[in-house]
């Protein structure tokens, strides 16, 4: 019966730096693989749309260095998915470059690296759609029409285990993967070891966020998974953390709509019959997952599109009369905007974030504080044209200062401007694609480069 040990040091490599202490404790347990994912949709659509990483490069380098040195010392493969936050081709190339440079710095012996690319040109999606391929909407979205693709600036396909398995079969010591399903990073080596899809994907689901599946709450600490037959043993590596049935089960429902199912290309893991048992103070055993195969292969697509340029202003209000009439003041300002630019929401947009009242929950807030002591307002303006976004933001903010309100005594200005300054925000993007596309092969949308890292460079393998 195969038994595989996987060490996972972080749930999102370099979003903040990983904690080295528990990672080194985990390495003492002689893992067979070191695996971490490095990306997410959580930060919103801008990183993908603008193709920028949000993690600091110094932290990316540090985390990769810690993992690479131990991986080479132990002689076990290291797998990193969703490279550089976005999992775009830029992210893969950046991580490959970092790995090569770290190897040069530490004079590591030559090793094999597989780079797997997941970006898919929007033009390619348009061709597939024109050829009759349906791009199915997820989570209640409509199927994508050509307009959705027109609005998409950049897209990635989310790889499942197959491309990573192919890289491992080719003998890769390091796998740098573009956008990947988190659990596939873990499932790939387990499937290669001959374990079942059920336990392989299930182990990945439990382990992908590292110490988030342990208690008490700590991020960026390592956990060790031992997978034997149909059983997953998850152990917290931090001396102060433990994996308990409660912590593992509650993690199984984290960030997901349905706690009983994990969808992957080619089926889903059914977790409804899972059983969690404490086997030692730091370890919980999880069993009972089953796999329900789907005859079709559907690959998830994520796409982000540019909406416009953003400008921001910060405005404060202390006058209790103005605070109580803030909706009227905003109406006044929107009226002035409409006079100049047409109705708000048509071709441009303005948002007033009312911190102190309900900026965080807006329409979901059952009890907004209508008379806070003071009110902080972030004015957010968006327009296709940066100069117009600037003008809209200035007018939207300054008209809070000039709002005409009944019975206002402070006639020298109805708002406090933090500074009379328009802040330049990053461009605004939206998630245009949260869809799946049917393919003939789970490899179809992905490209693998087999490289050798030697002398500070990553070169195509002979």
């Amino acid at each position: 019966m195969p038994s595989v040990k996987i060490l996972c040091p972080t749930g999102h490599l370099s979003f903040t730096p990983l904690e080295k202490g528990s990672f080194l404790l985990g390495c003492e347990q002689k893992p067979d693989f070191i695996i971490a994912d490095a990306g997410s949709c959580d930060m919103g659509p801008r990183p993908l749309g603008a193709d920028q990483h949000v993690s600091m490069e110094a932290w990316q380098r540090q985390d990769l260095e810690i993992m690479l040195l131990k991986s080479r010392e132990l002689g076990v493969p290291m797998i990193v998915g969703s490279a550089s936050d976005t999992g775009t081709d830029r992210g893969v190339d950046q991580f490959v470059g970092l790995i090569a440079d770290i190897a040069r710095q530490h004079k590591l012996k030559p090793f094999k690296l597989a780079a797997i690319y997941a970006e898919i040109p929007v033009a390619d999606l348009k061709r597939r759609q024109a050829g009759g391929t349906v791009i199915y909407g997820l989570d209640g979205r409509a199927d994508a029409d050509p307009l959705v693709l027109d609005r998409t600036t950049r897209a990635v396909a989310v790889m499942n285990a197959e491309p990573i398995r192919a890289a491992l079969r080719a003998g890769a010591d390091v796998v740098i993967a573009g956008r990947s399903s988190d659990c596939a990073l873990f499932a790939a080596p387990l499937l290669e070891a001959g374990l079942s899809p059920a336990v392989s994907y299930y182990a990945g689901k439990l382990m992908e966020c590292a110490s988030f599946c342990a208690e008490p709450f700590m991020g960026k600490e390592s956990i060790l998974g031992r997978i034997e037959g149909e059983e997953v043993y998850v152990t917290a590596m931090h001396p102060g953390q433990r994996c308990t049935p409660a912590s593992i089960a509650s993690h199984a429902m984290y960030e997901r709509t349905n706690p009983y199912r994990e969808y992957v290309a080619g089926g889903y893991v059914d977790m409804s019959q899972c059983v969690y048992t404490q086997v030692d103070p730091k370890t919980t055993r999880a069993t009972g997952a089953t796999f329900v195969a789907d005859p079709s292969i559907k690959v998830k697509l994520e796409g982000a599109g540019l909406v416009g340029h953003r400008r921001l202003a910060v405005v404060g209000i202390r006058d209790p009369q103005t605070i109580s009439l803030i909706d009227k003041a905003i109406d006044w300002a929107k009226g002035k905007l409409a006079e100049r630019f047409g109705p708000v929401g048509q071709g441009y947009d303005v948002f007033y974030h009312l911190y102190g009242r309900n900026a965080v929950m807006e329409e979901l807030d059952p009890a907004p504080d209508l008379k806070p002591h003071e009110l902080g307002i972030v004015v957010e303006a968006i327009d296709k044209d940066p100069a117009r976004a600037q003008e809209i933001c200035a007018l939207a903010a300054r008209n809070l200062f000039y709002a005409r309100l009944p019975e206002v005594k402070g006639t020298a200005g109805t708002a406090a401007l933090m500074s009379d300054e328009i802040l330049i925000g990053e461009p605004g993007y939206e998630w245009t694609l949260n869809h799946v596309i049917e393919v003939k092969s789970a490899m179809e949308l992905f490209r693998i480069r087999h490289l050798v890292v030697e002398g500070g460079a990553a070169k195509e393998a002979a």
Binding site: P45, D139, Y254, T257, D349
Partner: protein, 105 residues
């Protein structure tokens, strides 16, 4: 009969993105008895959720009592995908506060 606020019975009350179009809420209990008390009281029944959040019931996409974790879980659809211009909580991680003061008989 005396009531207790949910915050005193649950060990975890959280919200978080579930993909880019949804926010999911988890209420988790360390003690099975507290879980059963809340579950059986009906104060977190699916029909009660809209009133707690000024929510159109159609926006609730999933509701589940998750026995293995002593948890009650529900998911709502966002009005716009996460991180769009105008976003107020890109991770969806601060939407749970109204659950704190739910009175449990």
């Amino acid at each position: 009969m005396a009531t207790t606020r949910l915050r005193e019975l649950a060990s975890t009350i959280r919200s978080k993105n579930a993909g880019v179009d949804h926010i999911t809420f988890d209420v988790i209990f360390r003690e099975r008895a507290n879980f059963e008390r809340v579950r059986d009281s009906g104060v977190l029944a699916e029909a009660k959720i809209p009133g707690l959040f000024n929510l159109d019931p159609k926006r609730i996409t999933h509701y589940c009592v998750f026995e293995p974790a002593n948890a009650i879980k529900f998911t709502i659809r966002r009005l716009k995908p996460s991180g769009s211009p105008g976003e107020r909580d890109v991770f969806g991680s601060q939407q749970y506060a109204p659950l704190f003061d739910v009175q449990v008989p």
